[in-house]
Symmetry: D2
Subunit: 146 residues, 4 copies
Amino acid sequence: MSTPITPEALASKVGDAMFAADVASKDTMGMELLLCEPGHARMRMQVREFHLNGHGICHGGFIFTLADSTFAFACNSHNKNAVAAAASIEFLKPALLGDVLTSTGVEQVLIGRHGVYDMTVRNQHDDVIALFRGKSAQIAGNVVNL
Amino acid sequence: MSTPITPEALASKVGDAMFAADVASKDTMGMELLLCEPGHARMRMQVREFHLNGHGICHGGFIFTLADSTFAFACNSHNKNAVAAAASIEFLKPALLGDVLTSTGVEQVLIGRHGVYDMTVRNQHDDVIALFRGKSAQIAGNVVNL
Amino acid sequence: MSTPITPEALASKVGDAMFAADVASKDTMGMELLLCEPGHARMRMQVREFHLNGHGICHGGFIFTLADSTFAFACNSHNKNAVAAAASIEFLKPALLGDVLTSTGVEQVLIGRHGVYDMTVRNQHDDVIALFRGKSAQIAGNVVNL
Amino acid sequence: MSTPITPEALASKVGDAMFAADVASKDTMGMELLLCEPGHARMRMQVREFHLNGHGICHGGFIFTLADSTFAFACNSHNKNAVAAAASIEFLKPALLGDVLTSTGVEQVLIGRHGVYDMTVRNQHDDVIALFRGKSAQIAGNVVNL
């Protein structure tokens, strides 16, 4: 008889499985997944040449994408498939070439199938550069089969 | 004595100059700029393999990025430098590999230095897949020098 | 055999029934319902002494409430019970004592049970003072029984 | 030579002065100000008959108004005049007649003149019924003269 998996071990398994398949986050954007726990996630991305917009700073869409990926890991961490229904972001400071951005996400509420998650994106000086709030909806199915 | 440039010609010039320098939108994401008029812009992006997330659909962050770029062209179209202060997005339908997404942006209000712009992202079936609202703030300087 | 009711007549009936029972909007806030059509609504409210906050201007929450009521009429106009799931507002200009505010709402999309509605609040000079976007979810039941 | 006032004492003074003049929050809505500290505030409101909408539940606009007032106290607590520029709210549970709602607000960031504040509204069972995020802008002047 097998020992039931802990929520922590399950979230970690979910994170690994999702990240391995996530071409957009891993390959296209160059993110790393630092942590995937129940209702929490943390990702990191260094701003590279290909992230820069016409003003020579990191495209705001890519800061959003970093937070949105973090959101996806946090809201799927319970191993119930969840999708983003909506999100909002406040852009507080620009991100420059070479900056190392860390996005930390936390579940604020999960009521039935609907959750609200807050992501904070900081640079290597620990300045908050963006605040992101995402609304998720769980759908049928699981991320990993146990 | 030179003829003054029309707002339409100026917006077009701004669009060309910004897009030429926008590595993120043009090269990394594969967007095209279809239109840049005073307070309006339109962009297009086909969903490719590198846009896909762990669920095998277009990363929501890249749908946001398409709308955010459109927003940037619309809010800079008056040739006054403007930056995104905040944005929100509603995700209505997924975007699949091969889908051709068109984002159309319109200025709702511009009061002093602050503007509100609405972007609608549709796929090739004319389904609305996302609604984006962005808040801009004009800063010092011009996009192009006349 | 009775003639089936038109969508327009139904929306009007829904508006009348909802407004008659809406103590908050009608009595407490002093709103009028000007129009309830399928996916559209319009309401009006004059700023009175009891609407003023500590700065002597209309409380932003009451501008939101005017838009939120308009949203409720627009998203219930199809005679399927709908509730607000989320909303955002941009405050663009203050509303002063005596100002007459008109809020106009329009359905942007209705996909399955989920809708997005945009409200524009203007004063008597036709200045836009606030932009509101609401997300609705239909629930079981009808507003009026035919 | 007078002792300089502490930030805590100043915030408390600001709260008292603003609340005394706030007809909308105090008289029209029936709120109480429980706390005004630097970057923090807490308010309470019991749902009464006059708060009810056509569905017989507390009007969502009044839940917003409770959070928006809390936001106003939190973002003015440094005794620099600040106004709400934008806000968003997630409605998670209805508020019923007799419910006692407590709204707690916290400053997330204050960068230059711009701040982001998060309000959590709970009922007497400690259920989160709404999450509110507000963006403030400081303007000229002080709330109280020292």
